[in-house]
Symmetry: C2
Subunit: 479 residues, 2 copies
């Protein structure tokens, strides 16, 4: 009796001479004899070998790229090059045909990433996107594993929210009011008291504030869920819908926070290196080929695997914003006016070009910047004694810039309220948040990491639309 | 040198006579000497013992329920009853005061669940909600663990979607158009081409259709993300925002699907029983006390732990919808007209009362019903040869009714399109979905499970608002 076995398992198995059933899709068929079968369990194909003249011509014709097939037979040592074992086919059944005249992935030339974005419902079937989304799975699992092992509580913070707590900018409105005839109040404004939730609601931009509520009970929590920005940015780095990881820890100061963030990033990258080596090797080769198209000067000095191992094996460089500004002010590209934004004085917001200079040129390793000017950071960050900086930290990565943003939080009620008033935030509406500072407040800290940013780094892809299954961007919400 | 140790670890540790730092919140303080400290890592408190007269009266006054404290001292065998070890306090620091006059959880009487819902930002700090949300964490982790071990790919399906594929009913509109002055097209309708995504968009009601796209490449995938229903149902079983788990498997038929679903439910319940026994014991006691308030006839015959173990240890009963209708037609409550909806003939949609009768009275174990009438099921389910039923399955649980809903999918292009036309679904718009049946189609199946339904079952809670951190319901979107 044979049973269905996944290709990954067959290729990893030392045994030969055993019966199996294999189900998957045809990746290629040559010489009317050799089928490369893929079932999605691994990037590698299983070679299935037909006995010559064993099948009808009409059946042979239906063995086309993309067709779904079921095979039974015996796993034997392979005589050909390139694989250790192969499947000697006893029976073949076509489960679903795939018309080569119509199948978009039939193209002999490698389809472009742009074209594959248009057929995102089929791109999973390519080697590149197979590898990318298996890596995405592993990276997500590694996130949960890391926090579970450390006794963190996974918290599902709300997606629909009435609070614009961060004032973080443009949000998506969520409503069930009749858009043609919305009810109006006495002042002639939309009467959201008649809306589904009895108030105006939006899609969340962050779960942090709700995360803090739970951290004050469980100690250590994390979120991992979708967040939204209605920013009209059509770039390779922005999505309207993306996934964020936001841990929040009671009794942590900034030092603890930095140590956790560094351990976290290293742990999940290490997990993927260990568990998805074949996918990463494929993506490394892909990136290498892409690099060859670039002028010598723009090529990166490290391959993908090398870059990931480099992050694993180096302690992140810690310095303050103030120290970074000094380095940048005196840097060549600043003096030669090569930066688009010249750093002239303390207080300047750092751009991606500055972050990348620090990481890629100056320190040549990931950098953690701390103690930013209060004026360019969020209201909830702990105020330093100097009266002008806050206990913020950003982790900067090669090629990416900011990978992690976090801070110790201001736990002092009076200082926090004063800061909120200065920033014109609705203190009254946020009394639930302020209760964490009224009742049993303690030093606490947390950080946020955009999952797709991490995916870009780990896969070596350069367009954020290629690391999320169905990207949402301005003027596009396909599938 | 001592370092911060979590209460859970101290209580699990066999050792005594070692130095620790403990940080957490005061749960109670009695005799000016005994502090029950909780840090959220476990439902259990650590008893911290002050040497008499070791502290100032002014400091003693600040040791109030809810206050955040840091303690150093030595773990020693406890002389008192109820705990094996205790902390002999050397130093105590108040990190954050908690004014007993104002703290809502200061109440001597146990606060009601209704009241705690109003202060959902603080309810995490109670024993009940501490246990519930630690269980929620474990259950979520068990979901990922189960699928990861089986080589499934975790897929983040889109939250914002332009498709109303299921026709599943009321959806939340997502928009950035000016609600007071929306742009109109030539016909005087809202011109969604000017909206953020260039079309009308909604919050997803299911990730299944996108999941099928990925299953046709990876074989086995699952989703675990938020889904939404704009249903105006103010019941103990409905949420506007909830989390769904939706696995989808290529090359699976209905039998495989049922086997996976049963293994899945048993696996995650088993995980929580193994890893959260203290939380479950607490919730079991809570439920027992609640049951005592009920009339004898309404009390359940099983305790919480017993019920969970019962599900683990019994094979689910499989029968067809047609067989179930026969049982129900001949049942006492049907004949005596005790059902609100009397079952008169084949084709009737089953209500929760019927599902619970089958599970709780007739079979006394979880039941899997299969082969429902096509008319009461979704368009994508595989059509049986009889021309009137489909390869659907629902798993019914005691106290809950439907826990899992799934089916083998119709993989035949022509049959699927015909069914969509009968149901007036937009065939043209859904050509991306139909491509899975055009190119390399294969038998496949999947199911969906509402995570909060599972949480109700596992925690023994009866109101769905109590098993999600911040419930979204009609007229309510607090925090």
């Amino acid at each position: 009796m044979s049973q269905r076995v996944k290709v990954k398992q067959i290729l990893a198995d030392d045994r030969t001479h055993y019966a199996v059933i294999v189900k998957g899709w045809v990746r290629s068929f040559r010489n009317n004899q050799f089928i490369a079968v893929n079932d999605g369990s691994t990037n590698n194909n299983l070679q299935a070998v037909l006995a010559l003249d064993s099948l009808d011509a009409s059946l042979l014709k239906r063995i086309t790229t993309g067709a779904a097939i079921s095979l039974s037979g015996e796993i034997i040592p392979s005589l050909g090059k390139g694989q250790r074992v192969e499947l000697k086919v006893a029976t073949l059944e076509i489960l679903g045909d795939c018309d080569p005249e119509k199948y978009p992935l039939q193209l002999k030339n490698r389809p472009s990433l742009e074209y594959l974005r248009e057929i995102a419902h089929l791109r999973f079937r390519t080697n590149t996107f197979g590898a990318i989304f298996r890596v995405r799975h592993s990276l997500a699992f590694a996130v949960h594993k890391f926090f579970n092992e450390r006794n963190f509580v996974y918290l599902h913070t709300p997606i629909i929210t009435a609070s614009d707590a961060e004032g973080a900018g443009e949000m998506f409105r969520v409503s069930t009011l009749d858009p043609m005839n919305p009810p109006l109040d006495v002042d002639g404004n939309i009467d959201y008291s008649e809306d589904f939730f009895g108030r105006a609601t939006n899609l969340t931009v962050s779960g942090q504030l709700e995360g803090e509520l739970a951290a004050m009970a469980f100690g250590d929590i994390y979120t991992f869920g979708p967040t939204f920005r209605a920013e009209n940015s059509n770039t390779t780095r922005h999505l309207a819908e993306f996934w964020m990881i936001e841990p929040e820890m009671a009794f942590y100061d900034l030092e603890d926070n930095m140590a956790l963030a560094e351990a976290f990033v290293k742990s999940v990258i290490g997990y993927v290196l260990e568990n998805n080596r074949e996918d990463l090797d494929f993506l490394a080769t892909r990136q290498e080929e892409e690099e060859k198209q670039k002028p010598q000067a723009e090529r990166s000095d490290m391959g993908l695997i090398e870059k990931l191992e480099f992050v694993l094996n180096n302690e992140f460089q810690k310095l303050t914003y103030t120290e970074a500004i000094e380095i940048l002010k005196n840097s060549k590209p600043n003096k030669n006016k090569k930066f688009s934004y010249i750093i002239e004085e303390w207080g300047a917001d750092l751009q991606s070009e500055h972050e990348r200079y620090l990481v890629e040129k100056h320190f040549k390793k990931p950098v953690i910047l701390t103690d930013y000017p209060a004026a360019i950071k969020a209201f909830y960050m702990k105020q330093n004694e100097d009266g002008k900086t806050v206990r913020a930290m950003d982790i900067l990565f090669p090629g990416i810039g900011e990978m992690v943003g976090g801070s110790q939080r201001e736990e002092n009620y009076e200082k926090l309220v004063k800061r909120m008033e200065e920033m014109h935030l609705p203190v009254e509406e946020m009394s639930w948040y302020l209760d964490t500072r009224r009742f049993g407040a303690c030093p606490h800290a947390g950080f946020g990491l955009g999952f797709e940013r991490l995916m870009l780094f780990v896969t070596g892809m350069t367009n954020i639309r290629d690391v999320i299954p169905f990207p949402r961007t301005p003027k596009s919400a396909e599938f």
